[in-house]
Amino acid sequence: MIKSAFKIVCDSGPIIHLDELNCLHLLEDFQEILLPDTVYKEINRYRPLRLNNSNLPFVLSAGTIPNNSTLITLCSIFSLDVGETEALALMEKNPQAIFLADDASARMVAEQMGFKVHETIGILVRSIRRNQMEPGEVLRILRGVPSQSTLYIKPSLLDEVILKIKKEYNL
């Protein structure tokens, strides 16, 4: 299958959560996975060696602060951490990329800036559409989210997501 035309910029959360669920390979579908320095260090702290041992198209960048004054202000107002701020600075340089983040505040700032934003759950569901995984396999992984990952999602909402996928694929 032809890769997606998009690059992604990642906060640490989705990489860690996808790795916990043994689904990091789903990111192979993107042209490049851009990681700023602090995010890279955060991932290495929680999931050491993962980045070095994978064949994923990671591209590491020096951590910088944003240039855009609105973005700087929003990062400050929403108390984003260094990794999130550096990731958004990378988005500023790659505005056509997709920003992957599970943190609500980081997503909010990215949306305010007009960036495309998605999260771990979206990447899991997308894998069916992109023929990376079968619907049944994705359902099994989603059911394992509470016990096999540090991604927090309200149980009733997770049930709703699972039901939606079942309906979509007549399962």
Binding site: A104, S105, M108, V125, R126, S127, I128, I165
Partner: protein, 64 residues
């Protein structure tokens, strides 16, 4: 008011204390109350639910 006991990283506490010393807040309690208030503002359940629902929709029917 509710009293809670918790542990926070030393560095975080020092930064909060520094804000108080500089006169930005009355005391550490004010710093932590304000921090939690801001966190709760951006982590409203309806916003987080909408975000996940939108993401599932993108996962199922998106074009990228």
């Amino acid at each position: 008011m509710k009293t809670i006991q918790t542990e926070i990283p030393e560095q975080l506490y020092k930064k909060a204390l520094s804000l108080v010393k500089e006169g930005w807040f009355r005391d550490e309690k004010d710093v932590f109350s304000e921090a939690i208030r801001r966190f709760l503002e951006t982590h409203r359940p309806e916003l987080m639910e909408k975000s996940i629902r939108d993401d599932v929709e993108w996962g199922l029917h998106g074009h990228d």
